[in-house]
C-alpha cells in the first residue's frame, strides 16, 4: 500500500515532465507555428489559443506570435506635392500578424526568437510606409489645406497611403507608385490603419510663411482700426441724426403749444390798438429796462437828456422859474403834444 502511493506520485511527476515536454499553451492573443525539424507544418494552419501537443525538442518546436495591433511610425520625410511644393510628413501605421505561418516563413531567418522576427517586420513596414507616403505627390498643398474653406484631402491622402500598404493600389483604384504594399499580405502582415501625425514645412518655407503671417497681421491691424473708426463714426452720426430728428420734432411741438398761448393773448394785444405808438413806446422802454448786457461801454455827451445837469453851464443864464431842460426834451414833448392833438382831432373827427 505504501509502495502504491509512491508509484502514483512518481507517475504523476513523470507525467508532469512529459506533459511539459510535449504540450504547449497558446494565449488568446497569440498564434503558434509548429515546426518539425525546423520545417513548418504543411497544412498551413497556425495553432490557435488553447493546449496543444507536439513532439519534444528537438523533433518539434513552436514559435508563438503576438497577433495584437502594434505601432510603427516614420520620422520626418520630405515629400513633394503636385504643385511642386515641399512638405515634411510624419506618419504611422497600425499593423498585426494575420498569417503567422507566412510571417514565420518570411522572417524566421532573422533569428530564432519571435522578437527578432517582429523587429525585422517593423523595418520593412517602416520602409513600406515611407514609400507609400509618396502618394502625397498626387495632391496640391491647397488640396490638403484648402485656404478657401473647402474640404481638406488629408483623409484621402491617408486612405491612399493605407491602400498602398494593404492592397498595393491607390484608393482611387490606380496603381500606387512603385507598387508598394504588394508584398505585405504575403508577409502575413495586415495593416489596419495609416495616419499622418505631423505635417511640417521646410525651414526656408517656414520663414516665408511666418513673414507672410506678419504682413497679414499688419494688414489686419489697419483694417480693424479703420473698421472700428468707421463704425464708431457711424454710431455717432446716427445718434446725432436721431437727436436732430427728435429735437426738431420737439421744437415743432413746442411752437404749436406756444401758438396756443399767442392765440389766447391776441385779444389783449388787440386791446392796445387804441394808441399803437404809445404801446410800442412802452414796450421799447420795457425792453430798455430789461436788457442785461454782459458788458457795455456807453460814451454819452453831457447834453444827453437827464445828464445836462453834469454841465455847470446848464445852471447859468436861467431865467426866473426856468428849468434846465434840454431842448431835445422840449422838442420831444412838443412832438408828443402834437401827436396827441392830432389823435384828439381824429377822435373828434370820428365822432
Amino acid at each position: 500500500m505504501k509502495n502504491l502511493g509512491r508509484i502514483i506520485l512518481g507517475v504523476l511527476f513523470l507525467a508532469a515532465i512529459v506533459s511539459f515536454m510535449v504540450t504547449y499553451r497558446v494565449e488568446f492573443y497569440e498564434r503558434g507555428v509548429l515546426t518539425t525539424f525546423g520545417r513548418a507544418s504543411e497544412d498551413g494552419k497556425a495553432q490557435g489559443p488553447g493546449l496543444h501537443v507536439k513532439w519534444p525538442y528537438p523533433f518539434q518546436s513552436v514559435t508563438k506570435y503576438d497577433t495584437r495591433i502594434q505601432f510603427v511610425e516614420t520620422r520626418a520625410e520630405t515629400q513633394q506635392t503636385a504643385d511642386n511644393k515641399q512638405i515634411i510628413v510624419e506618419a504611422f501605421c497600425l499593423w498585426r500578424v494575420n498569417d503567422p505561418l507566412a510571417f514565420f516563413r518570411r522572417f524566421s531567418n532573422a533569428g530564432d526568437r519571435a522578437e527578432e522576427h517582429f523587429r525585422e517586420a517593423e523595418t520593412i513596414l517602416r520602409d513600406t510606409l515611407r514609400s507609400a507616403l509618396s502618394a502625397t505627390g498626387r495632391y496640391t498643398l491647397d488640396d490638403l489645406y484648402p485656404a478657401g474653406g473647402g474640404v481638406s484631402k488629408l483623409p484621402e491622402l491617408e486612405g491612399s497611403v493605407l491602400a498602398a500598404m494593404t492592397q498595393g493600389e491607390a484608393a482611387d483604384g490606380g496603381a500606387t507608385p512603385e507598387g508598394v504594399g504588394v508584398g505585405l499580405r504575403a508577409y502575413g502582415i495586415e495593416v489596419v490603419h495609416a495616419g499622418i501625425s505631423r505635417v511640417l514645412l521646410p525651414q526656408e518655407t517656414s520663414k516665408a510663411v511666418i513673414e507672410r503671417m506678419r504682413e497679414n497681421r499688419n494688414r489686419l491691424v489697419a483694417e480693424i482700426e479703420s473698421a472700428g473708426e468707421a463704425e464708431a463714426q457711424a454710431i455717432k452720426t446716427k445718434a446725432e441724426n436721431q437727436a436732430k430728428t427728435i429735437r426738431s420734432f420737439a421744437q415743432r411741438r413746442a411752437r404749436e403749444i406756444e401758438a396756443l398761448g399767442d392765440i389766447e393773448a391776441a385779444p389783449y394785444i388787440a386791446s392796445m390798438s387804441s394808441n399803437p405808438s404809445f404801446a410800442v413806446f412802452l414796450k421799447n422802454l420795457e425792453m430798455l429796462s430789461q436788457i442785461l448786457p454782459a458788458k457795455a461801454t456807453l460814451v454819452v455827451e453831457s447834453r444827453f437828456p437827464g445828464l445836462e445837469m453834469l454841465d455847470p453851464a446848464s445852471m447859468s443864464d436861467l431865467e426866473d422859474g426856468e428849468l434846465p431842460i434840454d431842448a431835445t426834451v422840449d422838442a420831444l414833448a412838443g412832438e408828443v403834444a402834437q401827436k396827441d392833438g392830432e389823435a384828439g382831432a381824429e377822435v373828434s373827427d370820428g365822432r
Binding site: 497600425l94 430798455l288 426834451v329
Partner: protein
C-alpha cells in the same frame, strides 16, 4: 565504531516518555556480538530518514495545496478581469471581488486596469525649448524667423498658416470592452497607438480651421477643434476595436509662431482699440440722445417714425379723397401724437425735449397773462399820458434809462459838451473789471440756485414710479 552493527537498546534502558536514543555507545559487555551492536544505529538512521521523508511529503502536500489555490485573486475597483483556461478566454468582464481560477499554466486570471490615463502632447507641435525656457511664460519666449523641422513642431491651418499647440490626451480602457482591448491592443504599444490616434485627429481637425478660429477657440465644446479632433481619433480607435475611449482631448496651449506673436498681439490690441472706440461712440451716442430727450429717446424715436408713417398714410388718404380713410388716418396721427406728447412730458423725458416742452408750456400759460398785464399797464399809462403827455413820457423814459445805465455791467464815459470829435484809448480799469466779473459770477450763482429750486419744487410733485414698480 568499526563494522559492528548497532544494537537496539533494551526497553529498560530507554528513557521514559522520550524517543529512543539515535546512537548508543558501546559499553563493552561481554557476550554481545558486533552485529548486535550495529542494529540500533541502522534503526536510528532509518528513523531519521522516515522523519525527513514525512517533512518532504508534508511540504509537497502544502505546495500542492498552494498550487491548487494559486489561481485565486482579487479584482479591484477600476479593474476588469478575464478568466483563461489553457490560454483561451472562458470568462470576461469579471466584476470587482474575489475570483477563483485554475492554477497556471492550466488556467489564469488576468486583470486589466480601466482607470483614467493621461498623455501630455507637449512637444510634437511646440517650438523647441531648452530646459530653462520651458519654465518661462509664453510671453517671455522669443523665437527665430523660421522653424527647424528637425526640432520645432507646428501645425498647418486651413489658411496655410503655422500654429503651435499643446494637448492633453485623457483616455481609459472601457470596462465593458476589456476583452476587446486585451485581444487587439499590444500593451507595449498602447500609448503610442493612443498618441497616434490623437495626432491623426489633431492634424485633420486643425487643417479644417483658420489660425484665427483656432486661436480664438475657448473650451472644447461641440464644434470646437479639440472636439472635432477627439471625434476623428475616437473613430480610429473604434475602427481597430481597441476598447479604448478618449475621454477628452484638451487644447491646453496655443500660439502663433514666436517671431510673429508680437504682430498677432498688435491685432488683438487693434481689436481692443476698435471695440473701445465703438464703445466710446456708443456712450457718446447715448449721451447725445439723452441730451436730446433723456430716457425716452428710444421710444420717442420709434413714435416719431410711426407719426411720419401716419402722416404719409393721411396724405395718401387725402389724395384718394375717401373721407373715411382720411378720418381714420387723422385718428391714427392724433393717437401717435398723444403718445409722443405723453413721452415728451413724462418723468423719464429730459434734455432739450424736456426743456422745450417745459418752456412751451410755460409760454403757453404765461403769454396770455403777460399780454394781459401789458394791456392793463397800457391802459393805466395811457390814462396818465392823455392827462400829462410830456411828464409821462419823460418819466417813463428816464426810469427805463436809469435802470439800464445803473446795471453793474454798464460803463459810462461822458463826453464834454463841445468837445467835438474825441479819440479815446480805452484801457479798462482792472478794479472795475474785477467788480464786473464778481457781479457776473454772483448773478450766475443766483440763476443756478433759482434753477435748482425750480427743479426741486417740480420734483416734489413727482411720483416715483420705479419704486412702485419694483415693489409690485
Amino acid at each position: 565504531m568499526g563494522d559492528e552493527p548497532m544494537m537496539p537498546l533494551p526497553e529498560e534502558e530507554q528513557g521514559v516518555g522520550g524517543r529512543a536514543a539515535s546512537v548508543v555507545l558501546r559499553t563493552g559487555e561481554e557476550g554481545q556480538s558486533p552485529d548486535a551492536l550495529l542494529d540500533p544505529a541502522h534503526q536510528s538512521l532509518a528513523d531519521a530518514l522516515r522523519v525527513t521523508l514525512r517533512f518532504v511529503q508534508l511540504g509537497m502536500v502544502a505546495l500542492g495545496v498552494l498550487f491548487l489555490f494559486s489561481g485565486a485573486t482579487t479584482v479591484r475597483e477600476g479593474e476588469s478581469g478575464l478568466r483563461l483556461m489553457f490560454g483561451e478566454i472562458v470568462g470576461d468582464d469579471l466584476e470587482p471581488g474575489f475570483h477563483f481560477s485554475a492554477p497556471y499554466p492550466i488556467g489564469d486570471l488576468i486583470k486589466i486596469e480601466t482607470g483614467t490615463r493621461r498623455i501630455n502632447e507637449d512637444e510634437a507641435y511646440w517650438p523647441f525649448l531648452t530646459e530653462r525656457e520651458k519654465g518661462r511664460k509664453i510671453e517671455e519666449l522669443s523665437g527665430g524667423a523660421d522653424l527647424d523641422p528637425r526640432n520645432d513642431g507646428a501645425l498647418i491651418t486651413a489658411d496655410g498658416n503655422l500654429v503651435h499647440t499643446q494637448w492633453r490626451i485623457i483616455y481609459r480602457r472601457q470596462p465593458e470592452l476589456a476583452r476587446q482591448f486585451a485581444e487587439n491592443i499590444h500593451p507595449d504599444h498602447e500609448e503610442n497607438i493612443v498618441r497616434g490616434a490623437a495626432r491623426h485627429g489633431i492634424v485633420r481637425a486643425v487643417s479644417e480651421v483658420t489660425i484665427d478660429e483656432l486661436l480664438k477657440e475657448t473650451g472644447g465644446g461641440v464644434g470646437s477643434v479639440a472636439s472635432r479632433a477627439r471625434v476623428i481619433a475616437q473613430d480610429m480607435l473604434d475602427d481597430i476595436r481597441s476598447g479604448i475611449v478618449l475621454e477628452d482631448l484638451v487644447l491646453s496651449q496655443k500660439m502663433p509662431p514666436l517671431f510673429a506673436r508680437e504682430r498677432f498681439n498688435a491685432v488683438q490690441s487693434a481689436e481692443s482699440n476698435a471695440q473701445k472706440a465703438i464703445e466710446t461712440a456708443r456712450q457718446a451716442a447715448s449721451r447725445t440722445l439723452s441730451e436730446a430727450a433723456g430716457g425716452v429717446y428710444e421710444d420717442l424715436r420709434r413714435e416719431i417714425l410711426n407719426y411720419e408713417e401716419a402722416v404719409a398714410v393721411h396724405a395718401a388718404a387725402q389724395e384718394q379723397g375717401d373721407p373715411a380713410q382720411i378720418e381714420e388716418a387723422r385718428r391714427q396721427m392724433d393717437a401717435v401724437l398723444a403718445r409722443i406728447d405723453a413721452l415728451m412730458e413724462s418723468d423719464r423725458a429730459g434734455g432739450e425735449v424736456a426743456r422745450l416742452m417745459f418752456e412751451a408750456r410755460a409760454y403757453r400759460e404765461e403769454e396770455p397773462n403777460r399780454r394781459l398785464a401789458d394791456a392793463r399797464r397800457f391802459e393805466a399809462m395811457l390814462a396818465q399820458y392823455e392827462a400829462n403827455p410830456s411828464v409821462t413820457v419823460q418819466t417813463a423814459w428816464a426810469d427805463a434809462w436809469s435802470t439800464f445805465a445803473g446795471r453793474d455791467m454798464v460803463e459810462i464815459i461822458f463826453q464834454p459838451i463841445g468837445a467835438g470829435e474825441i479819440e479815446m484809448l480805452i484801457n479798462r480799469d482792472p478794479a472795475i473789471r474785477k467788480r464786473q466779473e464778481e457781479a457776473m459770477k454772483a448773478r450766475e450763482v443766483e440763476e443756478a440756485e433759482a434753477r435748482r429750486r425750480a427743479r426741486q419744487e417740480k420734483a416734489e410733485f413727482k411720483t416715483t414710479t420705479d419704486l412702485i414698480e419694483s415693489e409690485g
